[in-house]
Structure formats: C-alpha cells, structure tokens
C-alpha cells in the first residue's frame, strides 16, 4: 500500500513539479529542506495528495517538520485514511 502511495506521489513530483518525468526520487530523499520543492509547489503537492487519496492536509502542516520525504508523506496519508 505504502509503495503505491509513494510511487504515485513520486511520479507526480517528477512530472509536474520537476518537469522531468524520468527523474527518480528516493523515498528518503529530502524534498522540502533540500529546496527540491518550493513553497508554491508544496501547495500543489498538498492539493494533489488531498484529491488523490481523499485525505486532508492543513496549511499549517505544509513544512519540513510534518513531512520531508516520500516515506513520511506516505505514512501521513495512511494514518489519515484509517
């Protein structure tokens, strides 16, 4: 399950945010603190996650403390889906 979530989000980030569909992102690669995803794209990512997985992410959670890697984001999604 987690793997599906991760690969789904990974493809979104590669194609839509980084504009490099073939780019692979390691599940423990830092996304926000590394500057890979900026604040504008972060909002897009949150909306994508909300729409795709039917969970809510509040704006106060859009920072590296809440999630900074694909693994952390996927576990956030899983915990909200229960």
């Amino acid at each position: 399950m987690t793997d599906t979530i991760i690969s789904n989000i990974e493809s979104y980030i590669a194609a839509q945010i980084l504009k490099q569909p073939n780019r692979r992102i390691a599940s423990d690669e830092s996304l926000i603190s590394s500057g890979l995803i900026d604040s504008f794209s972060l909002m897009d990512l949150a909306l994508f996650v909300e729409d795709t997985f039917g969970v809510r992410i509040e704006d106060t959670e859009l920072n590296a403390n809440t999630f900074d890697t694909l693994t952390q984001l996927a576990s956030l999604v899983e915990s909200r889906r229960k």
Partner: protein
C-alpha cells in the same frame, strides 16, 4: 513641504482615540494584532531612542532584517522618526543557503554603507558573520535590547529636522545585481506619488487595504505599507509565507475587515483561482472590494478571467479587477487603469506583433491576441515611447517606455554611475517595451535582461554565474531565461547548461546539482534545467552567450518533442 515625521505627527494628533487601528497585523494561528497610531508612534519612538543610544546619525542608512511582525513596523518608523534612512532586506528563508545570504549582505553593506543593522538576537550572529573589520556598520541592534519606557517627545526627535528633499528610504531588489542598486527616494517624491496615486484611486478614509506583499519590494512597501499608514487608511497585513500556504486567508481578511483595495502580481490571480478550496471560503463576502490591482509582472486578461470566474459567487465584481504599471524608480505607480470599469483591452494581430514588433488591428480573421492596458499615466507622470536613439514614436508604435515625473528617485544610492545612465535628456528609460494607444499604456516586453518570476525580479546573469559554480559546467556555457507559463500566469526560469559528456545519467546528475545550487543561492526555486552536450549553446561573435537565440532553439526542440 512636508516630511514623513510631520505627517505621522498630524495623524497622531487627529487620531488620539481611534476606533480603528492604523495596522492590523495578522499571524497564523493567533489573534490579529491591531496597532493604533499612538501605539505605532510609541513603538517607533523606542526604536528611535535606541538609534540615538547607538550613536546612529540622521541621514545614515539602517538595514532592517526582520520578519513580518511588530518589530518590523516599529523599527521602520523608528528609523524615520530618528531621521535615519531605513532599508528592508529579506529575511533568510529555509531554502536559501546561509553562505549566500551572508555574501549578499556583504555586497549590500559594501555599496550602501549602512551605519546599523537591526535584527533578532538569534540572527545577530549570522549578521555579524557577514561583516568585516572597518566596514561601515557600527552596530548590530537586536530587538530585545530596544529602549523601554521612552517618552514620546516630538521636539526631541531628530527626524523632524529633515527636509522634504532628503532621502527618506532605500529600496533594493534581490540578487547580486539588484542589491547593488538601492533606489533612493525623498520624502517629497513619496508624497508626490501618494498624492497623485491617491487621486487616481479616489483613496479616502473609508478604504481598507489588505495585503500579503513583502515589504522589501516596492509594491508591498508603498501600496501595502507606507501609503495606507501615511494616508490614514487602515492596513490589514499578513506575511507572504502565510499567504503562500493559505491563500484563502486573504479572502477571509477582505471579508472580515471589508477590504476595499488590494494589489497582487499576476501569478497570484492564477494561484488563488486554482488553489483555494470551497471549504475555506464558506460565507466569505468579497463585495467590499473596489479594486484589486494587477501589478509588478505582465498583466494577463486570462488571469483576471480565471480569478473572476472562481470568486464571482462570493460577491467579486468584474469591474474591480484593475491594472497598474509601476516601478521603484518612480516610487511606485506610473499608470493606473481608471477604477469603476474593466481595463481597456486591445485586440491586435498576433503575427505582426511577434514578428515585426508592430501593433496592427487583426484583419481577415488572422489570429489575434489580447493586450491588456496598464491604464493611464498618473496626473504627475508623463510617458512617451522612444526608439533606440531616444526619439519619440507615434501612437501604437512599440518602443522603450520613458517617463518623467516629480516622484522619481533621487538616484541609485552611492552609485552615481548607474543614476546617470538611467536618464536620457531628463527622461528615465524604464527598460520596458510598450506602446500608447488613446492615452492608455500597454506594456509589451522588456529590453533589459531581467526575468520576473511571481513578481520577483531576477537577473539571468546572476543565475548563470551560479550555474558556473556547479562542477562540470564551464564558465560561459550556460544561459538563463524566462519562459511564460500559462497555467501559473508568470514566467518560469529555464537554465540551459552545456557539459562535456553526452551521457544521459551524467547530464541528469549535473541537472540536479544545478537545480539545488541555484535554488539555495537565489530568490527563485529552480525547476526547469536542461543539460546539453558539447556545442549545443549558441554564442555570439563577441563570445557572450545570446540568451534569446538559445531560448528560441530550446523552444523549438521542446515543440518537436511534444
């Protein structure tokens, strides 16, 4: 002839027991903080006393490195009350490398020669690390060492001895290039702008300005800070960092405070239209808005339309969507579309515009494009269009926009060389291309090599210099340019870099390194990087990279690959 301190004193006297505040500061997750004129002057007075204690003289520059909040407001007006010249510098963000920030600050210090820097205690170490022995900065003032229990005595404040022609503030744009060009404005220039612009807007005390714009850019500093405070118009101010995570808060604030005016860069229309959820704006009423003014990047009809469609059911009026053309060198606004009706749009022949750079009406069903007017020159501004030789051009001919006004900059601070180059026969050359039709100014492009991303000005040469720092990229083998993104309603930066290798994996690694390095060391978050093999990048005979030629080549390849 009046000065900022004089005006503050008058406002203070007439608003001793105000039922509404001068500024409402908004924060994420806590109550709004109203600041009355009395509080503002007392808070500012404490900073003015601190500047006296630190031996800062009137006329000296004070750099403010503070985030959204009370300290920034008080420190700015405190410097004014003391007669010092404040300049607000962006705070270090999460993505920016501290080393780059230090280098930028050092560059700023070496040109601007500030006498003091005001910041937070926890950031003072960072600031000191950027300073050198023997430089101009006599003191780093921290916010927890501000004088307490000071008496507000107007006679004791040095700011009241300033003249209207004296420099009142400096405004910088970002990057290595921008930081070396501090726009110096006088009290008189700012008041001339506020009078003329206030007239264009029919600004009065029933207005309420709502803003999320940062105070280190002209739009935020003038329209979203100085104009309301000096005009007695309440300002509702939130942090740009809160807005970008929760753009719906701007709508909630308009509704809560019955906001009448706000300024937004073009991308913010798209951003708001696309990213605000219904659940966040339930019951919001936007009908109080008289004008939402699109300014600081090219204005797009499509962006206005998307914004209107998204928010019309919340009371937004189509005729509230307005445009302005502005620049720090003219304090702020140059033109403003007349309020109360939709800005004029000009349907022009697309091909004639793109290829011949001329404006023609479309005929025989040829493809057209819609140019949106930026409005009419303010009453105190004269605009003309000139050719390369500086000669005036007729109506609907595209050339460089030149202007004359009584609110121009005094000069670029400590840079007489740049100040002199900016003017031709008494006309300020804006570096923007455009045309005039029936008294309306249409901005069509830029002469200067500058990219505007989400309202931020970035210089391609700065980005190219950063790219050369990445291992594998040789000096002179990179170009940076802007590419318009329809969805985002703003330009996206593209960086092309040439490496010796044709290997795709190797190129990918360099692309990642460039993205990271440029993001950490500039004002933008770089997404679009293309690493190419030897001999891809086109050079001009002088050896300098030709940005537009390479952009064309890149766009052609992109078209083919689609």
């Amino acid at each position: 002839m009046t000065t900022f301190p004089d005006r503050l004193k008058t406002l203070h006297a007439s608003r001793r027991t105000p039922d509404r505040a001068a500024v409402y500061l908004q924060f994420s997750g806590i109550e709004d903080l109203p600041i009355t004129y009395d509080q503002l002057l007392r808070g500012a007075n404490a900073y003015a006393s601190t500047l006296v204690r630190e031996g800062i003289k009137p006329g000296e520059v004070v750099i403010l490195i503070l985030q959204h909040g009370e300290d920034l407001v008080y420190a700015f007006w405190g410097a004014i009350l003391h007669g010092a010249i404040p300049s607000i510098m962006p705070f270090l963000t999460e993505k920016l490398s501290p080393e780059r920030y230090r280098a930028d600050l050092s560059a700023l210090v070496s040109v601007t020669k500030p006498a003091a820097i005001i910041t937070y205690p926890e950031f003072a170490g960072e600031v000191r690390a950027a300073l050198q022995d023997g430089d101009s900065v006599g003191s780093v003032i921290v916010t927890d060492q501000i004088e307490q229990q000071t008496n507000l005595d107007f006679n004791a404040l040095a700011g009241f001895s300033r003249n209207a022609e004296d420099i009142v503030l400096l405004q910088h744009s970002s990057g290595t290039t921008g930081l070396q060009k501090g726009v110096a404005l006088s009290h008189q220039a700012v008041f001339n702008q506020l009078n003329a612009y206030g007239q264009s807007l029919s600004l009065d005390e029933n207005d309420v300005i709502v803003s999320w714009l940062p105070l280190y850019h002209d739009m935020g500093l003038i329209a979203g800070f100085i104009m309301p405070v000096l005009s007695g118009v309440p300002l509702v101010l939130m942090s740009p960092f809160d807005w970008v995570r929760a753009p719906y808060r701007l709508m909630q604030s308009v509704s809560k405070y019955h906001g009448t005016l706000m300024w937004l860069p073009n991308f913010a229309y798209n951003f708001s239209a696309q990213k605000i959820r219904d659940r966040h704006i339930e019951g919001v009423d936007l009908s109080s808005l008289r004008a939402i003014i699109n300014c600081s990047e090219p204005v797009r009809w499509e962006s206005h339309l998307a914004f209107y469609e998204r928010f019309k059911s919340y009371g937004l009026k189509l005729e509230s969507l307005q445009t302005s053309y502005a620049m720090a060198e003219n304090v702020f606004s140059v033109t403003q579309s007349p309020l109360g009706s939709v800005p004029v749009a000009d349907e022009i022949d697309r091909e004639a515009f793109m290829v011949e750079r001329v404006v023609k009406s479309p005929f025989d069903g040829r493809p057209s494009m819609r140019m949106m007017s930026s409005g009419r020159p303010l009453a105190n501004v004269k605009v003309k269009i000139v050719n390369e030789q500086g000669q005036g051009l007729p109506e609907r001919a595209i050339g460089e926009i030149a202007l004359q006004s009584d609110c121009m900059l005094n000069g670029y601070y400590n840079r007489p060389d740049l100040s002199e180059k900016a003017f031709l026969d008494g006309w300020y050359l804006t570096g923007d291309y455009g045309y005039i039709s029936n008294g309306e100014v249409f901005v069509s492009g830029r002469k200067k090599d500058m990219i505007i991303v989400g309202g931020k000005n970035v210089y391609p040469q700065d980005l190219e210099m950063l790219t050369y720092e990445v291992p594998g990229v040789h000096a002179g083998r990179s170009v940076a340019f802007g590419m318009f993104d329809e969805t985002q309603g703003t330009e996206e930066v593209v960086i092309l870099a040439e490496v010796d290798s044709e290997d795709a994996d190797e190129q990918q690694k360099v692309a990642d390194a460039i993205r990271l390095h440029v993001t950490k060391n500039s004002a933008i978050a770089l997404r679009y990087v293309k690493v190419v093999g030897p001999k891809w990048i086109l050079k001009t005979s002088s050896g300098k990279t030709a940005r537009s030629a390479n952009k064309e080549k890149f766009l052609k390849e992109l078209e083919v690959s689609k």
